[in-house]
């Protein structure tokens, strides 16, 4: 696991040094639009703390931050109006999953039908 780099882009967004389009914020988390959206709605949620990945966050973050962060993910999806039609959340850990920014983050994807688990991919999945 890489050492946390305080100059990663999400750290800079959290410090207000890099711009973002914010959609939700509380004491535990910040949510903002992905600048390269993969789906019509694509938001990234980051915890307010220095954690490289899901594994790091789950092992090292204090319980109140873990709870606050995941509740913020749910609140962000609700704030985006995604609860009724549905959404997908994804977190990538490490190289196999193509984690690109090493500040733990969760993607919220919505706005269209995602590929299903066992059925055929949905419209727009680019099969």
């Amino acid at each position: 696991m890489p050492v946390y780099d305080r100059s990663n882009v999400f750290a800079r967004i959290l410090r207000g040094e890099a711009p973002s389009t914010r959609v939700y914020e509380d004491e535990f988390a910040l949510a903002f639009r992905n600048i390269h959206p993969r789906t019509p709605i694509h938001v990234v949620v980051v915890p307010k703390g220095e954690y490289v990945s899901h594994a790091d966050f789950s092992a090292s973050a204090p319980p109140e931050l873990i709870v606050g962060f995941w509740r913020a993910v749910g609140r962000t999806a609700a704030a985006l109006g995604l609860e009724q039609r549905g959404y997908r959340i994804i977190t990538n850990h490490g190289s196999d999953a193509n984690q690109v920014v090493f500040h733990f983050h969760v993607h919220i994807l919505g706005g269209r039908q995602m590929g299903s688990v066992s059925g055929p991919p949905g419209p727009g999945d680019g099969t």
């Binding site: 696991m1 993969r38 789906t39 899901h54 594994a55 966050f57 789950s58 092992a59 319980p63 109140e64 873990i66 709870v67 995941w70 509740r71 993910v73 749910g74 609140r75 999806a77 609700a78 995604l82 609860e83 009724q84 039609r85 549905g86 959404y87 997908r88 959340i89 994804i90 977190t91 990538n92 850990h93 490490g94 190289s95 196999d96 999953a97 193509n98 984690q99 993607h107 994807l109 919505g110 706005g111 269209r112 039908q113 995602m114 590929g115 299903s116 688990v117 066992s118 059925g119 991919p121 949905g122 727009g124 999945d125 680019g126």
Partner: protein, 140 residues
């Protein structure tokens, strides 16, 4: 109007939790149970479910007590670690509602590992590996 269904105690994961249906168990503690998906979409495909009646990620995040939220996510990370996925990496996915493609209405997290995952995060992995990038093949 909410499209979130009421919790159905006869859903397949509830029945697995009660021991009424078999599973290939990977991990269990007081907060969560993890088992192999019977239709794996990647070389490693495990499901992690909380021990509680929650329909979805939204339901779980809003209603589960703090100790269960923490216990569940720590269990999920431990499962990935115990499966040996930490060094190469893994993807966790939770689907909520119709657009997410959620099929079983007991909140669950998929852990995918064992090969490089696609950049197309709107897709679930495919058993034949189509859409998946090869090791070291970084798509634009």
């Amino acid at each position: 109007m909410s499209t979130t269904p009421a919790y159905d105690r006869n859903n397949i994961f509830a029945r697995i939790l009660r021991g009424e249906l078999p599973c290939r168990k990977v991990y269990e503690d007081e907060f969560a149970l993890a088992f192999h998906d019977i239709h794996p979409l990647a070389p490693v495909h495990v499901l992690v479910i909380p021990k509680g009646e929650y329909v979805s990620q939204a339901d779980f995040c809003a209603k589960a007590p703090p100790e269960l939220v923490v216990g569940f996510w720590r269990a999920a990370a431990k499962v990935a670690h115990d499966l040996g996925l930490d060094p190469e990496g893994y993807r966790m996915v939770a689907n909520h509602g119709p657009n997410g493609g959620q099929l079983v209405f007991h909140f669950h997290v998929h852990i995918f590992g064992g090969r490089a995952m696609s950049h197309r995060m709107g897709n679930m992995p495919r058993p034949d590996g189509a859409h998946e990038s090869r090791k070291g093949d970084r798509q634009a």
